[in-house]
């Protein structure tokens, strides 16, 4: 579904039941339906966060997200990239509503039933690495937001499509088998086949860092990984979650493999990373 022109149409309400989470979108067509289509694969299982209402202005200039009649955010929507802004704010809202879980700005895959998180700044190559790992046989868990259950030590799937920008596609090469569910602002929203439905144990944390042309991996201590998570956008970013984050991340990291991948194109490291992750399987 391509939405390339600014939409000015009839405002429609769309109600999404995403497992235990209800999201209501109202806005001009086809914008409201496109956002709903991108979010439709998300399943919030075992949690019942309060419903989110997203109201997109008729001229597609702004949007407001409200919970229990209380506005949480209002954003100006860019002419190009409005869909990404709305998806990002929706997922960020979910992260703040699920107070039992910890979040990290990260992608994640499952390799032989063991979860691997890929952490990096925007533009570091998370999506291209996740796409490459998925194409090579890993199961897709999430692209931009990873949720962790500190009690169970698991990564919880957040199955919003991969947001594939032009440079992501170039870095990843072929995308994994799947389907395009939307396209806007030069970004294709690609949902891989065979997404993981259930949480998987958090077994590996991969931190993407700048480096040379050829990516290389180096072991990171678990304590160093805990500090790296605090430096990154995560539950550590919110004052009321800092203690939970410290306790929960420390417990999860105690049983995890931690690696830093340095290089301009981390997707090229995907085959070696799969070998490494499978070798570490019990």
């Amino acid at each position: 579904m391509g939405v390339r022109a600014r939409a000015v149409g009839v405002t429609v309400p769309v109600r999404l039941a995403l497992g235990g989470w209800v999201v209501q979108v109202s806005g001009p067509e086809p914008a409201a339906t496109t956002l709903a289509t991108v979010l439709a694969g998300l399943r919030v299982l075992g949690e019942t966060p309060p419903a989110l209402e997203i109201a997109i202005s008729p001229d597609l200039e702004s949007a407001t997200g409200s919970v229990e009649m209380r506005p949480l955010w209002t954003i100006a929507l860019p002419r190009s990239g409005w869909l990404g802004a709305l998806v990002g704010h929706t997922i960020a809202t979910l992260a703040t509503l699920l107070t039992r879980l910890l979040f990290v700005h990260a992608g994640a895959v499952s390799v032989d039933g063991r979860g691997c998180m890929v952490i990096g700044e925007s533009g570091a190559g998370k999506t291209s690495l996740i796409a490459s790992l998925t194409r090579l046989g890993a199961r897709y868990l999430s692209d931009d937001l990873a949720l962790l259950d500190p009690g169970a030590g698991t990564i919880v799937p957040v199955t919003v499509p991969l947001a594939v920008k032009a440079w992501t596609a170039r870095a990843a090469g072929a995308l994994p088998p799947g389907r395009e569910v939307a396209s806007e602002g030069g970004t294709r929203y690609w949902l891989p086949d065979g997404v993981a439905a259930d949480p998987v144990p958090a077994a590996a944390f991969v931190f993407l860092r700048p480096g040379g042309r050829v990516p290389r991996a180096r072991a990171l201590t678990r304590a160093g990984a805990l500090l790296a998570l605090a430096r990154h956008t995560s539950s550590f970013s919110h004052r009321h979650r800092v203690e939970d984050a410290f306790t929960g991340f420390a417990r999860i990291l105690a049983a995890a493999q931690c690696v830093a991948v340095e290089g301009r194109s981390p997707a090229a490291f995907a085959p070696a990373m799969l070998v490494r992750l499978r070798a570490a399987s019990p």
Binding site: R222, A223, L226, F236, S237, H238, V242, E243, F246
Partner: protein, 105 residues
Amino acid sequence: MPGGDDAGETVPVPAVRPDDSADPAGVTFLAAALDDEVVLLDLVQGQLVLLDPAAARVWRACGAPAVASPPSAGRRAAGILRRLARAHAVVRDGDRWVCAPVRWV
């Protein structure tokens, strides 16, 4: 020493108790042992402090009541103690250093 991977590295986080109030048990730090390193969360100042294996040994010794004379001897230990003091992880108590009130996670 922010920004590097060296011992003593700190990372700022939001202060949990910026009003300098300790919890009912008087705790101002949380501590997590990960392999032979320790990470401290300073609840009042709002920062994580990484203790490398040597610093972790010195800091643990400061919390051991059985140690009559904490590791104040030696230039390296003295340097570590100064760094721990700057991070508020140890405080001077007479002629010895003791750990700030801490809870292990």
